[in-house]
């Protein structure tokens, strides 16, 4: 039951539209700083582009996908019209307004602070206000998801919340709380300085606040992908979810342990003590647990599909999988990239190994592989799967869809593998150009060129994706039937309260954040003399 199709389509189109723009900027950046481009006479243009690319890809694009998908889940999984449609539109328009407000100072070169906006470098105040509006818009969605679930619970007392909605609401709570870190940084520290009310700022404290958001935001980006793994893939390839309860446990684990681990981003920082660095390192190891559980459950669910299709043998069943099905292809690509990216993540989480690659191109390679690769390829799959239900028209050209997915996979590997490699060689991130004539840097030239080629493969794939969606708007009409989610082998009837509600886990999430962040934040806030003069972008 998808009633508010226009609302969902608006979110997806805006998401993929801004994605297309940011992707183009990204490809240009890869080109211009590679040996095949010529040095920019004005390197500032690179940082404008990089700020726009990061801000859109980090804050606007995944948030809109999560919101649109969330509304679709709420209506189709709960079989209930969305409550608060007007509010949903208000949230959407807040994001539109915020994005425009943020992008104008970026385009004018007054907010080239990159999406991490580390103070005391301070950009134009409207950039930060724009980001705040985007977040406020998304918080409306969080509230709506919670309200819709509550309405459904009243009508279905004691019933098991459908897995897709349970996970969706967990993801929304995760986002609500993880955004608080950056919100505190923006409201208490940065915006007063950017508005000229204050002239000094504690840069160390700001980095700690930001790390609260910066890591868990990745799990917010990941949520739609994991929801697709569990509740779309098995249905699309003709299988079953191996275990409904393990799926719930995985989402609960993400909710609880995604947050209190962000300080691994500050391993090399002087303002955080060794003890909390170790605690956050250990907790980061813990967040691998839900992913390991998910890999098992999804592989088992896929195996069920293969055996239902007549697959035999220990590994022989892999052959019988529906490989011409875009969803199957997307899942396989996503898992390969998740495997490599996850292994890289385990390196980043250990203080000792991280020292070799911290803030090098390895890190950029890592999060592009995980987010741009494993996560975004499933965003494509989600869009392909939902599109016929949203438009009432069929997506006919499966070959084009498969080509698009293949290109994205190949492009991401070609882009990120050399990227990791130059990181190991010590190439720093976020530079507008490199002197490849220097004998010490020359060996990196080939790898950077390969990455740039990968960037253009990705751009080609991104354009194909938009073409498929646009053509889907004009295809012949066809009734796709009701939108359904995968069912488990043993479909739950009664679920223990702990696996059917979020309150306990939200409480645990907040408590763990307070224990792991409370003391460092409090000591930094109370330390005298740590505020330093702000440096305004474009003022020099």
């Amino acid at each position: 039951m998808l009633v508010n199709r226009k609302l969902i389509l608006a979110h997806f189109w805006l998401a993929f539209g801004v994605f297309g723009i940011a992707l183009t900027l990204g490809a240009w950046q890869m080109f211009i700083r590679s040996p095949i481009g010529t040095w920019l006479s004005n390197p500032e243009l690179y940082y404008r582009s990089l700020t726009a690319h990061g801000t859109v890809m980090g804050y606007v694009f995944p948030t809109l996908v999560a919101m649109g998908f969330g509304y679709a889940i709420s209506e189709s999984a709960l079989q209930q019209r969305l409550v608060g449609v007007r509010w949903a539109w208000a949230g959407f328009w807040l994001i539109v307004a915020g994005s425009i407000m943020a992008v104008i100072p970026i385009a004018l070169g007054r907010a080239s602070v990159l999406y991490t906006f580390y103070p005391p470098l301070i950009g134009n105040v409207f950039y930060y206000l724009g980001v705040v509006l985007v977040v406020v818009g998304s918080w409306i969605w969080v509230a709506l998801m919670s309200i819709n679930l509550r309405v459904w619970r009243k009508a279905n007392p004691g019933a098991a919340v459908p897995l897709a909605m349970f996970a969706n609401v967990a993801g929304s709570y995760l986002w609500a709380w993880t955004a608080v870190g950056a919100a505190l940084e923006l409201l208490l520290q940065i915006i007063p300085v950017a508005a000229g009310l204050k002239a000094t700022i504690d840069a160390g404290l700001a980095r700690v606040f930001f790390s609260w958001t910066l890591h868990a935001i990745v799990y917010f980006w990941l949520m739609p992908t994991y929801i697709a793994y569990y509740t779309i893939v098995p249905r699309a390839i003709g299988g079953r979810v191996y275990s409904d309860s393990m799926a719930r446990i995985s989402f609960i684990l993400f909710l609880v342990v995604a947050m209190p681990i962000g300080m691994h981003h500050t391993f090399a920082d002087p303002q955080v003590g060794a003890g909390f660095k170790f605690i956050h390192s250990a907790f980061t190891a813990l967040v691998a647990l839900p992913t390991l559980l998910t890999v098992f459950t999804i592989c088992a669910s896929v195996e069920i599909a293969a055996r239902l299709r007549g697959g035999r043998g220990m590994f022989g069943w892999i052959k019988t999988l529906p490989w011409d099905n875009p969803m199957m292809l997307a899942l396989a690509f996503s898992f390969v990239m998740l495997g490599f990216g996850g292994a890289g993540g385990l390196i980043n989480m250990s203080y000792q190994l991280d020292a070799s690659i911290h803030n090098t191109q390895w890190i950029t390679g890592h999060f592009h592989l995980i987010f741009g690769g494993a996560i975004v390829i499933m965003y494509f799959a989600i869009a392909y799967d939902l599109w016929p239900h949203l438009t009432g028209r069929e997506l006919i050209d499966l070959r084009l869809i498969r080509t698009q997915l293949w290109l994205w996979f190949i492009g991401m590997i070609v882009t990120t593998f050399p990227w990791h490699w130059v990181g190991i060689l010590g190439m720093p991130r976020r530079m507008a150009y490199f002197d490849f004539g220097d004998p010490a840097i020359a060996p990196q030239a080939l790898s950077v060129t390969l990455s740039a080629i990968g960037g253009f493969i990705l751009l080609t794939s991104g354009i194909l994706f938009l073409v498929v969606l646009a053509r889907g708007m004009r295809a012949p009409q066809a009734d796709a039937g009701p939108y359904r989610f995968a069912v488990a082998v043993h479909q739950p009837v009664i679920v223990p309260v702990a696996l059917n509600t979020h309150a306990l886990w939200v409480a645990l999430m907040i408590a763990l954040t307070l224990t792991n962040y409370g003391y460092p934040i409090l000591t930094l806030a109370l330390t005298e003399g740590t505020s330093v003069p702000a440096v305004y972008v474009g003022a020099q």
């Binding site: 504690d202 840069a203 002087p270 390192s281 647990l289 559980l293 250990s350 479909q491 740590t530």
Partner: protein
Amino acid sequence: MSTEETHGHGSTSASAEVAARVERRWATIAVVIIVMMALLAAFAGIHRATMPQPRVETTDPSRIHLSGEFIESNLGSVLEANGNVTVRAIGQQYSFTPACIVVPVDTPITLRATSADVVHGILVQGTNINTMLVPGYVSEQLMRFARTGDYLMPCQEFCSFGHEGMWGKVKVIDKTEFANRAKGGGRLSCVGQ
């Protein structure tokens, strides 16, 4: 959890038990992997293989050029009485001071550095020397070079429009050569060499 046996395909309670057993086994393996990783990190830390700086130190970037350990005449490398070397450096838009750091090979070195303006970072290529420079705080890193030679030392955090030009150098020289140069006292660097 109670389950509904509505779907065919052998979903008897026996198969549910098998499924749960396999799943438990995998969950156990996953937990063991994670505990092992945390223990490894703790082991490496306890044995001081690589450790974060133990304490948080502050400094006022608007006054570092006037007094204290980061005044200009105190920047560079100094041979301590115990044979160790201390290097003091600052990062500012868009260079390090000193831009070329000279140190002896095979010697325990303490790098103490801070930023005079925005966030910078020090990364010595081909090593695991890597630290942020956050204005207001002092970064300390222990290091030791096994080979002589020149190492590039780029700034690894975006520090505004000139970031791409912020490259320093570390020159690792012979121990006796360093000792000879240190005889005259003062602070050593390889700027202009």
